[in-house]
Symmetry: C2
Subunit: 200 residues, 2 copies
DNA sequence: GTCTATACCGTGATAGAC
DNA sequence: GTCTATCACGGTATAGAC
C-alpha cells in the first residue's frame, strides 16, 4: 500500500529459501548456519522472522497439505462414477504436486522426530485414507479389476504419484509439462503400459 | 568353529540394529547416542566395531545395491522379448525390496550430504539407467504403448516399486505376501487397474 | 531488520581402565 | 568387548548494539 518493496525478507519469502535447502540437505541435515548462508543474512536475522527452524517446517508442510485437501473438496462436489472421481483426484494430485513441488516434497519426506513432523504425517495419512475410500467405492461399482486388492492398488497409485517429487522439474527447467505427466500417470494406472493389441 | 555364540555384537549384527534406527529417525536424525541406546551398549563400544556412523551407512547401502545389481545379472542371462525381461526385472525388484527391506529403504532415502551418500546415489542412478534401457528396448520392439514417453514410464514404474519401502511389512507382521505384491505391481504397471471390459 | 558475540547443550569421536 | 570420562566442535537459540 505505502512503501515501495524493499529487498528484505518476510516469513513468506524466507520460507521459499528454507524449503529449497531443506529439500537439498534434508530437514535434519540442514542447520541454521546453512539457512543463513543460503538466505544471505545472519542466523539471528532468521530468528527475527520465525521462532525457529521448526516453524519453517510447519509453514511449508501446511501449504502442501492445504493444496492436497483442496482436491478432496473439489472431488466431493463432482458428479459421475466413483472411478471418474478417482481419475480426477489422481490427475489433480499430479497438478498439486508439480505446482507446489518443494512444499509437497518436504511433506513427503518428514520422518516423525518432532511434534510438527508427527502432525504432518498424521494429516497426510488422513488424506490417503480419504482417497482410499474413493477407490473402494470405484471397486464396489465394479469398475476396478478384482484381482488386485483395493488397498494395495491405492498404495501403488500413491507411490507412483508421490514419486514425482524425486525427479519432476518444471518445463522451464527442461522438464515435462505437468499435463503430460498427469496423462501418463492416469494411463499407466488405469490402462497399463502394454500395447492394446497385446491385452486380454 | 570353536567358541559357542556369545551374546555380543559383530559389525554385522550391529548393522541390523543401526539400519532399523536410521530408518525410524532418518540418518541425520540419528545420533550415536540413539544407536547405543538401541543396541544396549555404550557409544565407545560401537566404535570398537565400526570406524564411525558413516561406515554403518556404507555397509547398509552396499547390501541393498548388491541385491539390485544382482537382478541385472540374472536378466542379462535371460531369453525372450525385452518386455518379458522388463516384467521379470520388475518382479525381482519387488522381491529384493521386500527381502532386503530395511537396507533398500535406507538406500532410497539418502540425500547426498556425505561422500558415502553421494556414492550411493550415483550407483543407484546407474541401476535406474540400466533398467531404463530395458524399457527402451521393449518400446523399440513395439510392446509398449506409444502415447507414454519411455523415460517417463520408467520413472513411474520405479516410483511405484520403490514406494514399497514406505509401507510394506512382512507377512509375519500382518502384511502382504511378496508374491501378491509383485503380481499387483506387474498387473497395474502393464495392464492397468481398469476392468478389462471397460478397455479399448 | 540486520548485525556480532555468546550461552549452552548435544554431537561424533577418543583415551584408557577393566 | 565393554565401560566411564572427556574432548573439540557445531547445533539451536538469545542478548543487545546499530
Amino acid at each position: 500500500m505505502t512503501t515501495p518493496r524493499r529487498d528484505t525478507y518476510t516469513p513468506e519469502t524466507l520460507l521459499s529459501v528454507a524449503v529449497r535447502v531443506f529439500n537439498e540437505r534434508g530437514y535434519d541435515g540442514t542447520s541454521m548456519e546453512h539457512l543463513s548462508k543460503a538466505a544471505g543474512i545472519s542466523k539471528s536475522s532468521i530468528y527475527h522472522h520465525v521462532v525457529g527452524k521448526e516453524e519453517l517446517l510447519r509453514r511449508a508442510v501446511s501449504r502442501a497439505l492445504d493444496g492436497l485437501f483442496g482436491i478432496l473438496d473439489e472431488a466431493g462436489a463432482a458428479r459421475g462414477t466413483a472411478l471418474a472421481r478417482v481419475e480426477y483426484v489422481t490427475r489433480r494430485m499430479v497438478e498439486v504436486l508439480t505446482d507446489e513441488l518443494p512444499y509437497v516434497t518436504l511433506l513427503l519426506r518428514v520422518r516423525g522426530n518432532t511434534r510438527t513432523e508427527r502432525w504432518a504425517m498424521e494429516r497426510r495419512r488422513e488424506f490417503d485414507q480419504r482417497v482410499a475410500e474413493l477407490l473402494k467405492a470405484a471397486a464396489a461399482e465394479g469398475d476396478l479389476r478384482a484381482d488386485v486388492d483395493t488397498r494395495l492398488a491405492t498404495r501403488l497409485v500413491f507411490g507412483m504419484v508421490n514419486s514425482l517429487v524425486e525427479w519432476y522439474r518444471p518445463p522451464a527447467g527442461g522438464g515435462y509439462d505437468r499435463t503430460q505427466v498427469a496423462d501418463a500417470v492416469v494411463r499407466l494406472a488405469f490402462d497399463g503400459l502394454r500395447v492394446q493389441s497385446a491385452r486380454g
